[in-house]
Symmetry: C2
């Protein structure tokens, strides 16, 4: 069996995550038991949720155990199969983790999914046609429930989730306004993704200033907001929210290192009769088929061209992950494994 390089969580972060939290190890892949398949990973997905798993504290998910391979979504190719469900050469999506190969019990429901739409580049099954895309779909359709003509805003708009929120909102006839970091990302959001406007939050020192920019970009106020960031961005959005506005809370990356990110004016939830709701897409598996079908069609038809940042080689994963947490990626952050 082939040698397998793996990245494990070596130490939990105190404050900011850093490269020293991770360790590269080498092992042999074990021989397959009946029902198992061996997958060679092509791409590893890097996602903000992983930062939460690195902490010990109570969160919605089990913490990543120390000394074990970091959790993560992967696409790859079956190289050996002892399951009737898969044959060598199948392209598959799974949760293979930060390593070059994974051994998967093919009978476990949802563990491995075959993909074969030749119009969709394999890596997009980790982004727009994968977990980030379904995350966008759920928050938009099940929490924000936007109506045509209404205004939807989204933070981290050039990212894997945010870009899908905007494209889906436009497909529903909404005005889509992004918030992103830097002029280049904002240009991409408007010119390539088709948002109506995008605000560079780096040009704004406080929520009041950002809120004035939102007022300009959202002349009819904000009816729905998809939150990936928190802090100043959420404060600014609430100041522009309309009556009955909905906020889907998907991430609060601004607080992932333990920074305080208070919500300054919670009374706006009352005066605007808002609904603010947090969610995790893995708890809503029932929407995945419908969401993936719509997202696959948007990408397959070329109407949605997601952008990717690809780091080369497993050993590049930690720095690419840390860069993503600091907003250095542009679009979906991936690692090419082989």
């Amino acid at each position: 069996m082939p040698t397998n390089r793996q990245i494990v969580l070596d130490k939990r972060p105190t404050g900011e995550a850093e490269a020293g939290n991770f360790r590269l190890v080498t092992s042999e892949t074990p021989a397959l038991s009946e029902g198992q398949v061996l997958v060679r990973h092509r791409f590893l997905s890097l996602d903000p949720y992983m930062r939460g798993r690195m902490n010990e504290g109570k969160s919605y998910a089990q913490p990543q155990p120390l000394g074990e391979v970091m959790i993560g979504g992967t696409v790859g190719e079956v190289v050996e199969s002892r399951s009737p469900k898969f044959t060598a050469g199948d392209q598959v999506v799974g949760m293979g983790g930060w390593q070059e190969f994974s051994v998967v019990d093919a009978g476990q429901p949802g563990a491995l999914r075959k993909v074969d739409d030749s119009r969709v580049p394999l890596s997009h099954y980790l982004g727009a046609v994968g977990m980030p895309g379904v995350t966008a779909w759920y928050g938009l359709n099940r929490i924000i429930e936007p109506q045509a003509g209404r205004t939807v805003t989204v933070s981290a708009a050039s990212g894997a989730v945010g870009s899908a929120v905007g494209v889906l909102a436009k497909a529903r006839g909404c005005r889509a306004v992004g918030i992103a970091g830097g002029a280049q990302k904002c240009r991409y959001v408007v010119e390539e993704l088709g948002f109506d406007a995008c605000i560079d939050y780096r040009e704004h020192g406080d929520a009041g200033s950002l809120s004035r920019a939102l007022k300009q970009a959202c002349p009819d106020g904000i009816d729905g907001h998809f939150e990936n960031v928190g802090g100043m961005v959420l404060d600014a959005v609430l100041l522009r929210a309309n009556a009955f506005a909905r906020v889907a809370v998907c991430g609060m990356i601004a607080g992932y290192d333990g920074q305080p990110i208070p919500l300054t004016y919670p009374q706006l939830i009352l005066t605007n009769r808002m609904r603010v709701e947090g969610f995790i897409v893995s708890e809503h598996m029932e929407v995945w088929p419908q969401a993936l079908a719509e997202l696959g069609e948007l990408v397959g038809s070329g109407r949605f061209r997601p952008r990717e940042s690809v780091a080369e080689g497993l050993e590049a994963a930690p720095e690419a992950f840390l860069g993503m947490l600091r907003g250095r990626n542009f679009g979906k952050q991936l690692v090419r494994i082989s």
Copy 2:
């Protein structure tokens, strides 16, 4: 026609509301036109929402106009009628305002409602069997949607809304835990209203301390919370919230004078996949008949004995109102008008 004493809003508050914001005036009640009735008020309701109306700023409702009679719910007796719908002697609930008499267009939908359940004291139609009761009913049943065996908390638990929340939650088989100010109110909440526990927030200097008390009173965590206060109370509750907990935001009296009341840990909305939703009961008229029927039965059968603080005479209304904002009332705050 009789002389009518009225209290008008004379000046808007800057910071805390004060007696000088109000002015007592005297006028003649006008002669009735066709379709109108003249009502002599027996009781005036004082409610926290009135504080919001005194401000000029954008809120969910029109500000109370300066120089006009303060808005407010009233119960009273028809003394003269030029409407076929009412006859002298009818007992009626309406929005008569801070005055001794009101002239009402009886044809206007919802303007005046006849009440005649002899088991229900007239004043309770302004409390448990009126707007505050329906407010409790809506927030509990339509937002919190509690299941038997789950834990529901409510702040301002001895008040008109809070007491009904607890009684309704108990009727649904929930554990009901109140938060109130002072040992006497807490005793009433447990011993007379039948809550399972009540915490005196005055014994706690910060959200951490209050949260530890909530942990003791809610050993299985908090599944639903009805918020009337905001600030430290809401922070403490969020720290004890279970996955999928719901918060109905009905009031944030802690911030009514303009104090900052930031929500310290909004990330808990995400990690607990919570829903936090604000509402105003007047926007949900469709639930009133069902809610009033249930509340009327609870009160009429003696299973719910709401407590009242009654100030004597219209001229006592401003001080009674200001006292209520400071938590000096005990139960529903009323003014006996005649």
